[in-house]
Symmetry: C2
Subunit: 300 residues, 2 copies
């Protein structure tokens, strides 16, 4: 089944202990859609400026991603600049230039509206609501968010939570949203706010899934050389939602499989700057790493 | 097979968000030996003062722990006082009174020297060396340590690492000892320093095992109400070493099983102050929780 993602495409300038890159392809929807494209058909809704490079469009098209919903607007593409020099687990934002994102309101092409799986990447909750208004009622919808909206648009965010099936967030966000500092309690408390499922990402410590009568945890795939953590969370979410859309079903087992696939795709993402590793990745490489990953936490 | 532990017994005063207790039974060897006693015969070497309470001795004896090696010395038992008000993962030490520990040098009863499994709980490396001199060459020896010795007695600690089979330490200690801030690299680097295996404890994020051609990770058993984290790491180590000693063999599968048992025993420890939960625990309760735990990270 097909998967719709609405989110940002960006040019990033990033500094990590491994080095510095400028104006490289990034953005939540970019990482998400490429990660998901290994498992299902992906339709992307977002906006870029006239400076969006042909090779970057080709990269996405080469992965079979449907760009009918990608608007090219007058002006420059969204820019983000960040560093991970203090702590590889925490991005320190140095600059954000909204550019074409300013005032952008996502519009779904008519043929996208029946997508059975939908992902709302991090965005102001009001924009996420605008997308929700345009998708089919029966879709399985997942959303990401960030601390900024938890702090500044809490009510709108809570309204989104009541309307989605799955919340994907990191550990700090789970704590902030729920007010619980124990992650198990936090994850369970998220379910009280609306979604049927919640996935809490813990970076190098893996991820946890919460559902009614369903708690699940995986460690992270062991990566000894993290070059750039940017996009890891979005790639993880892309692997998760891509896997579910590919299966066409959301069951406990499919969710477990999805989280494992998401973890493995994210483990490739962090091995290079930007989409350096994801771009040339093959499904065979992913499947081989999944085998290794499963043995990493095999039961005795 | 039997398991020898050398370490501290203490009276603790502890404050956590759940409350405050004074002069309760604690100490690394106490938690370790009770946890291990569910899986094998345990022999304890340590020292207490004349104030060591009869009911506390009875608790240990009731678990079948051999106290031939427990010295009762003139003076007061070791006291530790700490709080976890800032962060449940980090104990802030408020006071340490060595009392009978001052100048104590562990002597193994003759009949303890052939113990096939040995655990050196956290202690000055010079004292751990003194114990190593007294045990059989063929024993499988594990050791714990703490940042204090990494900082102040590094050379002696490195000498210990060359003499033991398994190092059990937490994530911060693994980073400090190895100089690697990526935990995967840190764990692998520990093996270069001598031990055949290293286990890195990550508190609420579980544990990782490193060995030649053996990487393994488990999440932590999900505990929604952590009352007191004191002794979690020692209970974990007790479960691990008790399980290995009970099996009488150290293989990849037995190590995996051991880490799972250690995680589960530790999950009981943190549910109450002191040994409040461990003391009345049964093997049936442990086995039931192991079943639940295995489903928590079952593969799809």
């Amino acid at each position: 089944m097909s998967l719709l993602v609405v989110g940002t495409l960006a040019y990033d300038t990033i500094e990590t202990p491994a080095g510095r890159v400028e104006e490289v392809l990034g953005g939540a929807a970019t990482y998400f859609s490429v990660a998901a494209s290994f498992f299902c058909d992906v339709r992307l809704v977002g906006v870029v400026g006239e400076d969006f490079r042909t090779e970057d469009r080709s990269l996405l098209e080469g992965r079979g991603i449907d760009l009918t919903g990608l608007l090219v607007a007058p002006g420059a593409s969204f820019r983000w600049s960040g560093s991970y020099l203090e702590d590889l687990n925490v991005a320190e934002t140095r600059a954000t230039h909204l550019n074409v994102l300013e005032g952008y309101e996502p519009r779904l092409p008519e043929e996208y509206r029946d997508a059975p799986f939908v992902f709302l990447a991090n965005a102001p909750p009001a924009l996420q609501a605008l997308v929700l208004d345009q998708v089919n009622k029966g879709a399985f919808v997942a959303a990401d968010t960030m601390n900024l909206w938890i702090d500044t648009a809490r009510e709108e965010l809570l309204e989104i939570l009541r309307r989605v099936d799955l919340l994907v967030c990191n550990d700090q966000e789970a704590v902030s949203i729920s007010g619980q500092d124990n992650l198990i309690r936090a994850g369970r408390a998220l379910l009280e706010l609306g979604p049927r499922y919640a996935i809490v990402k813990k970076g190098e410590h893996g991820a946890m899934l919460f559902g009614k009568d369903l708690d699940y945890a995986v460690p992270a795939y062991p990566v000894p050389e993290v070059v750039d953590p940017t996009g890891a969370g979005d790639s993880f979410a892309g692997g998760v939602m891509g896997s579910l859309a590919g299966a066409g079903a959301v069951t406990g087992n499919e969710l477990r499989r999805a989280i494992i696939r998401g973890s493995v795709v994210a483990s490739f993402t962090v091995e290079a700057f930007s989409l350096g590793r994801l771009a040339g990745l093959t499904r065979e490489e992913i499947d081989r790493r999944i085998e290794t990953f499963l043995s990493y936490f095999a039961q005795p």
